[in-house]
Amino acid sequence: MNIGTRKILDRSFTAVGLTSILLMALALLVVVVPIVSGGIGAIFFKGTIEHRKLQLREFDNGNREVLDRQIAESEPYRQEVFRMLDAFAAELETFEPTRKREYSSKVSSVKDIVSHLLGPVPGEPEPILLRFQYGTTRWEKAEESLHDLMFVTKWDTSNPEEMGKQYFVPRVDEFAGTSLAALFPYIEENLEKMLLPEQTFYWGFLTERSLDAHIFGGVWAEIQGTLFLAIGAMLFAFPMGVIAAIYFTEYARENVFTSILRSANSTLAGVPSIVFGLFGLAFFINTIKVSDSKSVLAGSLTLAIMILPTIIRAAEEAILSVPKTYKEASIGLGSTKWRTIVTVILPAALPGIITGGIISLGRAAGETAPIIFTAAVSVGATIGLGDVLTSPTPALSWNIYNLASEHEAANEIRHVQYGMVLALISIVLLLNLSAILLRARISKKLKG
C-alpha cells in the first residue's frame, strides 16, 4: 500500500479513537445537563403566592404577615376574574337552551383552568383532594396554563397519510360577543399580579414529606428510604466481603475448590439485577419469610448479595496491593498470621477497601430492579428506624420510575421527577467522586 495512504489510515485511526471519546463525553453531557438543569428547577424556581400559601399552611414555613399582605394585594385582581365569571353565569341564564348548553360546557373548561391557576373558585364546595385546594405553585406551570386558557388545542387530521398536526385557536373567539370575552385579555395582563411570582429557593424539596402523591411537597421519604436500603445492604455485604477477600488472598490454596469459588463470584457479578429481585421475592420473602411482605430488611438483603462480588473484588485488590515486605516484616518480628492480617495488612489496605465499599454503596443506592418486589412502595410516608424490619419504604430509584411512568399526573410533576433524579444522581456521584478522590490520595501515598 502507498505510504501516503498508510499515513491517512493512521491519522483517521487516531481520529476515530478521539471521536469515540468525544462522543462518549458528549453523550454524558447530553444525559447529565438536562437532568441537572431540570433537577435544579425543582429546588430553585419562580414560586407563586400559592406556593407560599401551601408552605405556610402545610409546613408552617414562611412569614404570615408578609403573606397576608400579598394575599390582600392580589385579591382585588382575583375578585375581578370571579366577578366576570359570575356575570357570565348570569348572562348564560338569558340564552336560549341550545346556546346555553353549548356555552356552559365551554365555560366550564374555562372555570377548570382558572381554578387550576388561582385555586378554588369562591362559593364552590371545598375540594377534597389537596391538589385542588391550591392554585398553580410554579410560575412556569402558570404560564403553561395561561396558554391553555388563551388557546384551544385542535388537531388537523385531514391528511390520513401523516400524523395529525397540532394547531391552536384563540379561545376568546369562542366567546365573541359575550361579556366573558373581556376575561381573556384581563387574565393575560394581570396574571402576574394575581400570582405574585418570586424567585424561590425551596430547600424543603429535599427535607419535606410529599403531599397528595407528590403533587406538592418534597421527597424526603424517598431519600431516607434509599439511604436505609443502601446502608442496610452495606451492613450485611461489607463485613462478609472483606472476610471473604481475606480468605481468598491470604488463606486460599490454588485448587479446584478455590477456582470454583472464584467462578461463583464472577457468576454472581454477572446475574441480571431483576433476577436478584426474583430471588429476593422467592427466597427472603416467600421461603424464609424475613418479613410478611416487602420490607427494608428484605430489600437490603437482596441488594447485599448483589453488591457482594464487587466488594470482594475491591477488597482483594486492596489487600494484594499491600507490599509483601510489610507482611514479611511483621511475621519476621514473631507475629502470628492472623495478627499480621489484623494489625498490618488490613490497616494498610483499609483505604482501598473503603473505596470499594463506597462505590458499592452507590450502586446499592441506585439500583431499582432488586427492590421492586422486595422493598419498594409507590406512595408511602417516611418510616421510622424501628420499622425497617417489617415495613416497605419508598425509594428514589423506584419512585422515579413510578412517577414518570405510572403516576396519573406524570406530565404535571416533571419537576418532581427531575428533582428526584438529580437527588439520586447526586448521592451516587458524590459517593463515587469521594471514592475516586480517596483512591487518588492512596496512590499518591504509595508513590511517596
Binding site: 500500500m1 502507498n2 495512504t5 498508510r6 499515513k7 491517512i8 489510515l9 493512521d10 483517521s12 485511526f13 487516531t14 476515530v16 479513537g17 478521539l18 471521536t19 469515540s20 471519546i21 462518549m24 453523550a27 454524558l28 444525559v31 438536562p34 401523516e162 400524523m163 472476610i243 480468605y247 481468598f248 470454583i260 469459588l261 467462578s263 461463583a264 457468576t267 454477572g270 446475574v271 441480571p272 439485577s273 431483576i274 433476577v275 429481585g277 426474583l278 430471588f279 422467592a282 416467600n286 421461603t287 448479595i305 457482594l308 470482594i312 443506592a365 441506585g366 439500583e367 431499582t368 430492579a369 421492586i372 422515579i400 420510575y401 411512568s405 439520586l424 444522581i425 451516587v428 456521584l429
Partner: protein
C-alpha cells in the same frame, strides 16, 4: 536475659511449646480458617440458591404448559382466562435491543479503549478514567428517565432529521476514508508496481463522487422517516449501548495495557504506523480480553431492566419487518418487572411462574456468557505462555 533463657527460663519464652498448647493452637487455627472458608463459600452458596429458587418457581410453569408455547408462540396474554404465554416476541425483543446496543457500543467502546491506551497522553487518561467510572455509576433508572422523558419525545418529533444528521456525521467520514483506501488499492491493482499518482487520483475522485451520492441518497431517505413512537427499540438500544460502554471500555483498555510495550516497540521498529501496530499486533494479542469485555458489556445490556421497561414501549410483538428498530418492543426483564405486580397476588398460578421461567432464561444466558468469557481468557493466557 540470655542467661535466664539458657537456664531454662520461663516456659512461655521458649519456642518449643507444649503438646497441649500446640493442639489448642491447631484447633484455633482450624476453626478460624473454617470460619473464613465458610464466609468465602457463601457466595457460591448464594449462586446455587439463586439457581435453585428461580428454577423451583420456574419448573411448575413448564410442567403446566410445556416448552413449545413459551418458545414458539408470540401470543402473550397472561391476564386472560385461560392465559396465553407465548414469549417468543419478548425473547426476540430482548435479543433485538441487545444486538442493537452491541452494534453501537462495541465499535465505539473498542476504539475509545484504543484511544485511551495508545493515543491519548497519560495525563488525559488520568481524567478520562474517572469520567468513565462516573458514567458506569449513573443509576439505570436515571438513564431510563432520560430515555422516556427527553429522548423519546425528541425522536418522535424530530426523528427524521436526527437520523439524517447521525448518518452524515458517523457514516460520512468512514465512507470517505473507505474511498481513499479503495482508490489506492484499485490503483495498485490496475497499475501494478508503478503506482501512478494520476491513476490513483482518478479512481479516488470517481469513487468519491459515487460515495457522496450514496451518502446523500441514504440521508434523504432517513430524513423522510416519520417515527411513530419515541419509545422504541432504537431509543433503548442507544441508551443500553451507552450503559454497556463503560464496561467495554475499561475492560478492553485493561487488556490493551496488558499487552506491554515490548510488542508495540517491536512493531514500530519494523516500520509500522501506529494504526498498523495496533490492528496487527496489539489487538490480536489483547483479543481475549476484548472479547471478554464485549461479552460482559452485552450481558449488562441484556440484563438491564429499568431502561427497557420505561422506554421500549412494552408492546409484545415482533416488529414488522423484523429489523425495524423504530417499532416498540418488549423484553424479558421488563416483562418480569412489569407483570410481577399483578402476578404476585396469585402466587402459584402460571402467570406467576412464567416470570420465573423468564428469570431462569436470563440466568442461563448470563451464566453461559460468563462461562465463555472466562474460558476465552484462560485459553488466551495459555497461548501467550507459548503452549
Amino acid at each position: 536475659m540470655a542467661d535466664a533463657a539458657l537456664d531454662g527460663g520461663k516456659k512461655s519464652d521458649a519456642f518449643v511449646i507444649s503438646r497441649a498448647k500446640l493442639r489448642r493452637q491447631r484447633i484455633a487455627k482450624f476453626l478460624g480458617e473454617g470460619f473464613l472458608l465458610a464466609i468465602a463459600s457463601f457466595v457460591a452458596i448464594i449462586v446455587l440458591f439463586i439457581f435453585y429458587f428461580v428454577a423451583v418457581d420456574a419448573i411448575p410453569f413448564f410442567q403446566q404448559r410445556g416448552f413449545a408455547e413459551f418458545f414458539t408462540s408470540t401470543s402473550w396474554y397472561p391476564a386472560d382466562e385461560p392465559g396465553e404465554f407465548g414469549a417468543l416476541a419478548i425473547i426476540f425483543g430482548s435479543a433485538m435491543v441487545t444486538i442493537g446496543s452491541a452494534l453501537i457500543a462495541v465499535p465505539l467502546g473498542i476504539s475509545a479503549a484504543i484511544c485511551l491506551s495508545d493515543v491519548l497522553p497519560f495525563s488525559v487518561r488520568q481524567y478520562a478514567k474517572p469520567v468513565i467510572e462516573m458514567l458506569a455509576a449513573i443509576p439505570s433508572v436515571a438513564y431510563g428517565f432520560f430515555a422516556l422523558v427527553i429522548l423519546a419525545p425528541l425522536l418522535q418529533n424530530h426523528g427524521g432529521p436526527i437520523l439524517m444528521w447521525a448518518w452524515w456525521l458517523i457514516a460520512g467520514p468512514f465512507v470517505l476514508l473507505l474511498v481513499v483506501v479503495a482508490g489506492d488499492l484499485l490503483a495498485s491493482a490496475v497499475g501494478g508496481e508503478s503506482e501512478s499518482d494520476v491513476l490513483r487520483n482518478v479512481f479516488t475522485a470517481v469513487l468519491g463522487v459515487v460515495a457522496v451520492l450514496f451518502l446523500y441518497w441514504v440521508g434523504k431517505t432517513l430524513f423522510a422517516i416519520q417515527i411513530l413512537t419515541g419509545t422504541n427499540a432504537l431509543n433503548v438500544s442507544l441508551i443500553l449501548s451507552f450503559m454497556a460502554l463503560p464496561t467495554i471500555v475499561s475492560v478492553s483498555e485493561d487488556s490493551l495495557q496488558a499487552v506491554g510495550r515490548e510488542l508495540r516497540e517491536g512493531s514500530y521498529a519494523l516500520g509500522a504506523t501506529r494504526a498498523e501496530t495496533i490492528v496487527k499486533t496489539v489487538l490480536p494479542a489483547a483479543s481475549s480480553g476484548i472479547i471478554a469485555a464485549v461479552i460482559l458489556g452485552i450481558m449488562r445490556a441484556l440484563g438491564e431492566t429499568m431502561v427497557v421497561w420505561m422506554a421500549s414501549g412494552n408492546s409484545s410483538h415482533i416488529p414488522d419487518p423484523w429489523f425495524n428498530y423504530l417499532d416498540s418492543i418488549r423484553t424479558l426483564t421488563a416483562t418480569i418487572a412489569g407483570d410481577m405486580g399483578e402476578a404476585d397476588q396469585v402466587t402459584g398460578s402460571a402467570r406467576y411462574h412464567v416470570l420465573f421461567a423468564m428469570g431462569l432464561l436470563l440466568l442461563c444466558f448470563s451464566f453461559v456468557g460468563n462461562f465463555i468469557s472466562e474460558r476465552i481468557v484462560v485459553r488466551q493466557r495459555k497461548i501467550l505462555a507459548g503452549e
